[in-house]
Amino acid sequence: MRAIGLLLVLLGAMPISAQEPADADTARTMRTLEHAWVEGQARNDNRALDLIFDNALVYIEYGRLVTKGEYLLRVRAIAPSPSQIVMEAMTVRRFGDTVIVVGTYLDKSAGARKALRWRFVDTWVYKKGRWMLVAAAAAPMSK
């Protein structure tokens, strides 16, 4: 419940100014939302994820295109477990009411020895008083 309250506050954070790179408040908000996504997924908290995913979200992983509905269905089907995703450095760039977050994360779901590092690009759009994730994609990083 506290997590949803926090999300609502973050989602409602007003855009400040259209600058690039992002102002500190926007950058902080986006980093928190990225972490909220990872935590929501680990807790199988579809309600929290539903708040940050736009209905037209497009998500690409392993070369597959996944819709919001398909993503949430998959999250619901998996048992809650401690997050296997470790978020690393992120860069936030702002273009008016649109934000691009580029960063890396470590996926330890196949075991610590087979941990795979991914680079991601996420697009957030401020609509109806909230930041919504409209596109997300990741590519595995070559060793």
Binding site: Y62, F120, A135, A137, P140
Partner: protein, 146 residues
Amino acid sequence: MRSLMLVALLACAGTSAGYAPEDSESDVGAKILAMERVWSQAYASKDPKALDRILDVAFVNVDSDGRLQSKAEVLAEVRTSTALQFLTESMVVHMHGNTAIVTGVFLIKGVDHGKAYVQRERFVDTWFYKDGQWVSIAGLVTRIEQ
């Protein structure tokens, strides 16, 4: 000659026409798809001139090896492209006000160090309406698992 055709196509595609408020989403979508084709054609023709106009100065790309590329690095990559054919398939545009998301598939055929290759990759590009024209601000490409 090829570069002239690219510039002409680009002008028709929308950078000069821009985005008028009366443009419908389908009009805007068609313009953006045309620019996506200009983008892929740039790789096949090894000519970054047209691409230079449709990538924002702050453009960032993640390639299929997870490498982060700036606009300058992408333009340099185009000049040394090994692609002979670069086709786009299954493209879909999602409009979010002055932002557009395009997803699609690349089919790339080329020759690298004397060896022919065929690659299929899925991409997602983010476009933003800025200073009277649509520019791409971010992209990511990932291999399609067989």
